[in-house]
């Protein structure tokens, strides 16, 4: 009898130890999990040579980095875009988002709009958009990414753009790191796509399709042909998730329009300014975008973004 009980305990110990190592192994960095789900070949053949494919087997962790909502908003502003509040996702819509997918997409969208209004010193709107982003983060169970102290700090610094940008950056990082640490990379990816799509919507809506030549904003929009490859790679890492699959279908639809545009670039040369210690990467890029293709892109992005914020 004693021996049987001892054997039973031994089995329990074994099960516990195995379970512990399984949990430990599955959780480490989240990166290993991502890696195991990645296809063997994940890089764009058109841009990377065969030598790289030989290297990739030895690489432990691959990151696909999309422009954050903050970077997207800064890019739109530095391209010379004006402020148009009517284009933004109304904060009242926040109450409509109840699914994980809609909250993730609109956490991205509201963070982009928050960055955008803050860059144009729209103080009241900044607080409203931070509150809307907080609702999304809370709904997704992202603990303390944006808390009451964050809102208070924002209110106290509404006239200090640098501090506001720091607050936005920190809250976005809190959300992103929380999601990655809790094996919710699929949600983190959807948040990024939501912000990216919002930026693409704002930028395309600010351009008249009949005036696309010698336009900085159009150049930045065409640059998204480069980023969309990274969007696809990022989503591919979580294709077992149904929400990611539907977002991927939208992204592929936009990609089909970008595929009609040819981007050509000259080889990159580097130049270091010894005084400032800043390196400039020198090259020239041209695209053969036409008003018709731009109009098609504008319409597709509008349709998808309207679906996301409805």
């Amino acid at each position: 009898m004693k021996s049987k009980i001892f054997q039973l305990f031994q089995l329990k110990y074994l099960a516990l130890v195995v379970s512990a190592f399984c949990i430990a192994g599955c959780s480490i960095g989240g990166g290993d999990k991502d890696k195991s789900e990645e296809p063997e070949i994940m890089l764009d053949m058109s841009e990377l040579d065969k030598e790289l494919f030989q290297d990739i087997g030895q690489v432990k962790k691959i990151f696909y980095s999309l422009p954050s909502p903050l970077e997207t908003a800064m890019m739109i502003r530095s391209a010379g875009a004006g402020y148009n509040e009517e284009l933004l996702n109304p904060v009242d819509n926040a109450a409509n988002y109840t699914t994980n997918k809609s909250m993730a997409l609109n956490l991205g969208s509201y963070t982009c709009d928050l960055s955008f209004v803050s860059l144009y010193d729209q103080t009241e709107a900044s607080v409203n958009y931070m509150n809307a982003a907080k609702k999304m983060a809370d709904g997704l169970g992202i603990l303390d990414a944006i808390n009451d102290e964050t809102i208070q700090k924002l209110e106290e610094n509404v006239n200090n753009r640098d501090v506001i940008m720091e607050i936005i950056s920190e809250t976005f990082m809190n959300s992103s790191s929380f999601l990655h640490e809790n094996d919710r990379a699929s949600v983190a990816a959807i948040v990024l796509v939501g912000g990216w799509m919002e930026g693409l919507f704002l930028a395309t809506q600010m351009v008249d399709p009949d005036s696309i030549y010698n336009n900085n904003l159009v150049d930045r929009i065409m640059d998204q042909k480069l980023s969309i490859n990274i969007v696809v790679k990022l989503l591919e890492e979580s294709m077992d998730n149904l929400d990611v699959q539907s977002v991927m279908a939208d992204v592929k639809d936009i990609m089909a329009t970008f595929d009609k545009v040819k981007l050509t670039t000259t080889p990159v040369e580097t130049s270091l300014d010894q005084e400032t210690n800043v390196t400039t990467l020198k090259s020239k890029t041209e695209s053969n975008i036409t008003p018709d293709i731009f109009r098609e892109l504008q319409e597709k992005v509008k349709t998808i973004r309207t679906k996301y914020i409805s």
Binding site: A20, S27, G30, M74, P267, T279
Partner: protein, 146 residues
């Protein structure tokens, strides 16, 4: 029963190790590496992982013209100095911190937008017979508000 409880505690601690490591990595990125970006504003993206000596990571990102960037790549104190290389889409090396005393940061801007690859390596340091060290490596980007 005592043995059972002891094993339960041990296994629980083992299960929590990865979560603790992740939390430490977040703290390291936020409290230490982020400071390297100053006076640039962190873009808000989080890229960090636990790497072991001899391991590599890669990051792909499109960088835009009209934007000033600072890249910061930091490893926790127990790791040797982190190597990183920047390559363009044709695999040409644009920058390597090996040629600059393993500096943690690189400031750059672009005349036209480019998709770049950042290759990161944790070199094998010290005695090869020793157990390889693991630690957090963070890759962060700073932007300049204009």
């Amino acid at each position: 029963m005592k043995r059972f409880l002891y094993l339960l505690i041990v296994t629980s601690v083992l299960a929590l190790i990865p979560l603790t490591s992740n939390a430490q990595c977040k703290g390291f990125a936020k409290k230490i590496c982020r400071l390297e970006l100053n006076p640039f504003i962190h873009d808000g993206n989080y890229h960090a992982a636990i790497l072991t000596e001899g391991e590599e990571a890669e990051l792909y990102k499109t960088f835009y013209s009209d934007q000033d960037y600072r890249l910061a790549i930091c490893g926790s104190d127990n790791l040797p100095e982190i190597e990183f290389t920047i390559l363009d889409a044709n695999q040409n090396v644009l920058y390597s911190n090996k040629d600059h005393d393993f500096k943690r940061t690189w400031d750059f801007k672009l005349e036209s937008s480019q998709q770049l690859k950042i290759a990161v390596k944790v070199p094998v340091g010290g005695d090869e017979s020793e157990e390889p060290m693991s630690g957090c490596v963070a890759i962060m980007f700073g932007l300049k508000i204009k």
